[in-house]
């Protein structure tokens, strides 16, 4: 097992290198360079000042050299400084990451609580009215964009309940209830979108497993239906469900960008958008790198959880 983990971690090193190259190149597609943009903001600068800024930012060096310098820094946890605020990119990310992590975990928890029971009942009562409404609901969850859902939710809540999102964010460990109150609506919205996919997966995985011989055996030996479904069927249907959670990690982190912007949450998604809008390329490449790292890490965790969930799988 340890050997397998080490192998998987090593195998993701080239992937991470490619990802960092991607993050680094994307932000350099900007026409002209960041310095010209700063000039447009600040006003006239002499040639000498321009050269000085370029040297400070390192953008006067050739691309491969810039990349290697940045990569060496990143490997030591130094992602550089924001070109506008001068703040440490790494520290900004560390400040915002917990907010996004909490939001993501809450949404995943909500999605599982909703999706797995509905998916199971849908599969067991196949083609019943419950099944049809569950599937329709899942389709709606797949098709309504989060930002539209959030907008409509804000509209309904403010008109009927008088609830407006709080503009001040308090960390979980300072005022837990207030914090959860702030995150409840955004994580419900994200959770609904996630639940759609998980529910479809649960349903089809359960349908597949319920046809197996051992389920028939369990039933024929007189086990109560609930024990058959939970202990025999669901346990074996878990692998595809866990896989889909890993696949969705990518979409979830993408969605937090929008939801954090709408609900004014100081997470990494919001940080990314601000960096994008300000064309703060050093901050942006750091954000993209950390987000990709999180996706790779989550998928690694999913891979490893297979062995834990399914004793038939042995990593050797």
């Amino acid at each position: 097992m340890l050997q397998y983990i080490a192998g998987r971690v090593l195998a993701s090193v080239p992937l991470l290198l490619l990802v960092s190259l991607l993050a680094f190149s994307v932000v350099r597609l900007i026409p002209g360079d960041a310095v010209m943009l700063m000039v447009a903001e600040i006003g006239n600068l002499s040639q000498q000042q321009l050269a000085q800024i370029r040297a400070e930012l390192g953008v006067d060096r050739p691309f491969p050299q810039q990349f290697l310098i940045w990569l060496a820094g990143a490997a030591q946890g130094d992602l550089g400084r924001s070109i506008w605020t001068g703040r440490s990119v790494g520290r900004e990310i560390l400040r915002t990451l917990p907010v996004t992590a909490e939001l993501a975990l809450l949404s995943i928890a909500i999605s599982l609580l909703v999706a797995i029971p509905i998916g199971i009942v849908s599969a067991v009562w196949r083609n019943s009215p419950f099944d049809y409404s569950g599937r329709l609901l899942a389709m709606v969850g797949l098709s309504v964009p989060e930002f539209a859902l959030a907008t409509v939710a804000l509209l309904v809540l403010s008109l009927h309940v008088g609830w407006v999102p709080s503009l001040v964010y308090v960390p979980l460990w300072e005022e837990p209830w207030r914090n959860l109150g702030t995150l409840a609506v955004p994580s419900l919205i994200l959770g609904f979108g996630l639940a759609a996919v998980t529910m479809r997966m649960t349903r089809s995985a359960m349908l597949e497993v319920l046809r197996e011989d051992y389920v028939r055996t369990a039933r024929s030996k007189g086990l109560p239906e609930i024990a058959v479904i939970v202990r025999h069927a669901l346990k074996n249907a878990f692998n595809p469900i866990v896989t889909i959670i890993g696949v969705q990690a990518r979409r979830l982190i993408g969605s937090t960008v929008i939801i954090e912007t709408i609900f004014a949450l100081p997470g990494i998604g919001r940080l990314t958008i601000d960096a994008l809008l300000n064309r703060d390329f050093i901050q942006l490449q750091g954000c993209i790198l950390v987000i990709a790292l999180a996706v790779v890490l989550l998928n690694l965790l999913v891979d490893l959880s297979y062995a834990w969930l399914d004793p038939r799988i042995h990593y050797r």
């Binding site: 991607l22 932000v27 900007i30 509209l155």
Partner: protein
Amino acid sequence: MVQPDGVPRAVVTPSRLGRCLWYARRNPAGVVSALLVLGVILVAIFGDFLAPFDPARVAAGPRLSRPGARYLFGTDHLGRDLLSRIIAGTRVALFLGFTSILASTVLGTAIGLLAGWFEGFVDQVLSRLVDALMAVPALVLALALVAMLGPGFDKIIIALTAFSIPTVARTVRGTVLAAKQNLYIEVARALGGTTSRVLLRHILPNVTAPLIIVMTLQLGAAILGEAALSFLGLGVQPPAVSWGQMLSGPARRMMEQAPWLVIFPTLAISVTVLAINFLGDALRDIWDPKLRGSE
């Protein structure tokens, strides 16, 4: 083709039309969604004739007029007719969706074919590239591309293409890997078929069905992606109209007095994508033999 019970399939296969009707009867949701998608496409094509007003004309009517007989969906804060703007947005959404899907299909298929066919080094390089693209959330990648490249329809198409390429490439690669095992591929090669001939004449037809399913579902995703880009102010810029853009800025500030400003664009996006997703599901039911008969 011989079925497990030994009956040659040609004998039991009804005509193409008969088969279509059979699927249609089995899957009414698929038929309804196909008709809806067709309707949306017609609105996009003939929008100019359908729109009661010029979508960009300021003060076509009174400001923030409620939905009614004259302004079916109401008017916005500048007195522009909302129905006409939704219709204009349909064309933008479908145009950007279809062009980017076409581009990502061509590029993704090429990558997938090469990776699946040659395996080894080529596969390693191409697959790792796709993995790297897969590690960055599609929306973040698209946002970064649009922000860096600047505004413009062509830039949005590039961003949305990058959004879908990994999914297409992965699907095609998987299908090619499976199709390669067929005996007729070996025969085609033994008969002296060149690589390009075998790939295009014998492998590619296998890819068509999964590709059409993926294209349909990715079309929905691309439309949502464009809406998200425009919602954040990085996508379609005025005077062009987009559903996502209609939901941002002034509409959100005024939604309590004028809820129709956000309700109609939300419905437009949701109904369109819902229909496309239902169609994709129906196509999967028809074409994916693994799922056939399991519903």
